[in-house]
């Protein structure tokens, strides 16, 4: 298996086959929260790709050079990763505010939300403990480039579904929906159909 093909599979698996929103049920709150319009979804997607990549890079370094050598990884990984993410988000927010006001206007309001986006913690944990979320117990260790490709895959999968779903929800506004199903319930029914479609990908790869 060539190197490029392996990276492609890793990316495809992370983004589509094991889609973080529809197959793994992670990060649903921002999903339903911001998907009411296409603009906010785009802003959120860009911010998530950006923060997630940075968070995984820092967490990977922290795990491999600090936590693991000291032997405290097993019980300190939750506090240290989430602290990394929370401070990173606040740091990024300050830097963007100072250096690029237009970017801050586009991304600013989504950044605090990302701290509680479980997808960021999930991707960071998964990149140092592969199989943690799929319970496969793989004794495999991602090298740094693999961890990066994996994280970008997760983030792109998140963005893909978020944007598709937002487009769908904008159309639903005009659709004749039974009275008590208007708003949130119909959005969940739509998500169920989306999820059904994505389950097909898992069958494609025989997972």
């Amino acid at each position: 298996m060539s190197e490029a093909w392996r990276y492609f599979l890793l990316f495809f698996g992370a983004s589509v086959v094991a889609n973080i929103l529809l197959i793994r049920f992670i990060a649903l709150c921002p999903f339903f929260g911001v998907s009411t319009s296409l603009d906010t979804s785009l802003g959120m997607s860009i911010s998530v790709i950006f923060v997630m990549t940075m968070a995984t890079s820092v967490s990977w370094i922290a795990w491999n050079y600090v936590l693991k050598p000291l032997g405290v990884g097993e019980f300190l990984y939750i506090p240290s990763f989430i602290l990394i993410i929370a401070s990173l988000v606040q740091f990024v927010e300050m830097v963007i505010k100072k250096t690029s006001p237009p970017l801050y206007r586009a991304m600013g309001i989504y950044l605090p939300l990302i701290t509680t986006n479980c997808a960021v913690l999930a991707a960071a944990t998964e990149s140092v403990k592969p199989g943690f979320f799929t319970k496969l117990n793989i004794a495999y260790h991602y090298a740094f480039p693999e961890a990066l490709v994996y994280t970008v895959g997760v983030a792109v999968g998140f963005s893909l579904v978020l944007i598709l779903f937002a487009a769908m929800r904008e159309r639903l506004e005009l659709a004749p929906v039974p009275k008590f199903f208007r708003g949130v319930p119909i959005a969940f029914i739509t998500a169920a159909l989306f999820s059904l479609a994505f389950m097909g990908f898992a069958g494609m790869f025989n997972l």
């Binding site: 529809l22 197959i23 793994r24 049920f25 992670i26 990060a27 649903l28 709150c29 339903f32 929260g33 019980f75 990984y77 939750i78 506090p79 989430i82 602290l83 929370a86 401070s87 606040q90 605090p112 701290t115 509680t116 986006n117 479980c118 960021v120 913690l121 999930a122 944990t125 943690f132 979320f133 319970k135 009275k179 008590f180 199903f181 208007r182 708003g183 949130v184 319930p185 119909i186 959005a187 969940f188 029914i189 998500a191 169920a192 159909l193 999820s195 059904l196 389950m199």
Partner: protein, 212 residues
């Protein structure tokens, strides 16, 4: 929420309907949809969330006057993460349960319910209120979790298994397995949410329904 006299009893009971974390505030969805395939999971998950939520609410309410505003989120997160680690290590002593819930325990840290209550309530409330709020919201979360899991396990697998004993059996062969799979979770939530909208519309006749 409108400003009114805050009573301890009111703080405790509001979590069930008026500010139900799952159905009204729409926070903490991920874990609830993922684990509500079995009633047993939900009991442990509910207890874990009640514990973490109550403890973190109380601690944050105690130290609310000493937290600098700029770094408040990392501080809340550290408080929450410590309690989550306690739960994580405690549940490891019950391997069967930990195996099924494993992933979701560390993810309680980023469960938006807890951070939302810390930021939106405990940081400006008295300790006694924060305690009741934590208990109430936690129980509201657990009750929705139980309703969803009973529905999904009973109709998705045909029976409910509690602690290795069959608690209830429908004796049917062809069950809609889709209910315990991913789409079933969304559909179950949608039905509950529609039920709540119907209930609220009935309670206040004449008020036109508005999307959230």
């Amino acid at each position: 929420m409108e400003e009114r006299e805050r009573t301890l009893w009111g703080e405790l009971t509001k979590g069930f309907i008026t500010t139900n974390p799952l159905l009204v505030l729409m926070v903490g969805l991920c874990s609830s949809l993922a684990i509500s395939t079995r009633v047993e999971n939900c009991i442990f998950m509910g207890l874990a969330v009640i514990f973490v939520l109550t403890c973190s609410n109380v601690i944050i309410s105690l130290i609310r006057n000493f937290i600098p505003d700029q770094v408040r989120i990392p501080i809340y997160i550290v408080v929450i993460a410590s309690f989550v680690t306690i739960v994580d290590l405690t549940l490891k002593t019950i391997p069967a349960v930990y195996e099924r819930l494993g992933v979701w325990i560390p993810l309680i840290v980023v469960n938006c319910i807890i951070l939302a209550r810390a930021e939106g309530y405990a940081s400006s409330a008295r300790v006694s209120h924060a305690l009741m709020d934590g208990l109430g919201i936690g129980m509201g979360y657990t009750s929705v979790l139980l309703i969803m899991s009973v529905f999904r396990e009973l109709f998705g697998t045909g029976k409910i298994v509690l602690f290795d004993k069959t608690a209830s059996d429908l004796h049917i062969k062809a069950v809609p397995t889709i209910l315990i799979m991913f789409p079933g979770a969304f559909v179950t939530y949608a039905l509950l949410s529609a039920l709540l909208q119907w209930y609220q519309a009935r309670k206040k006749p004449g008020v036109e329904e508005e999307g959230p």
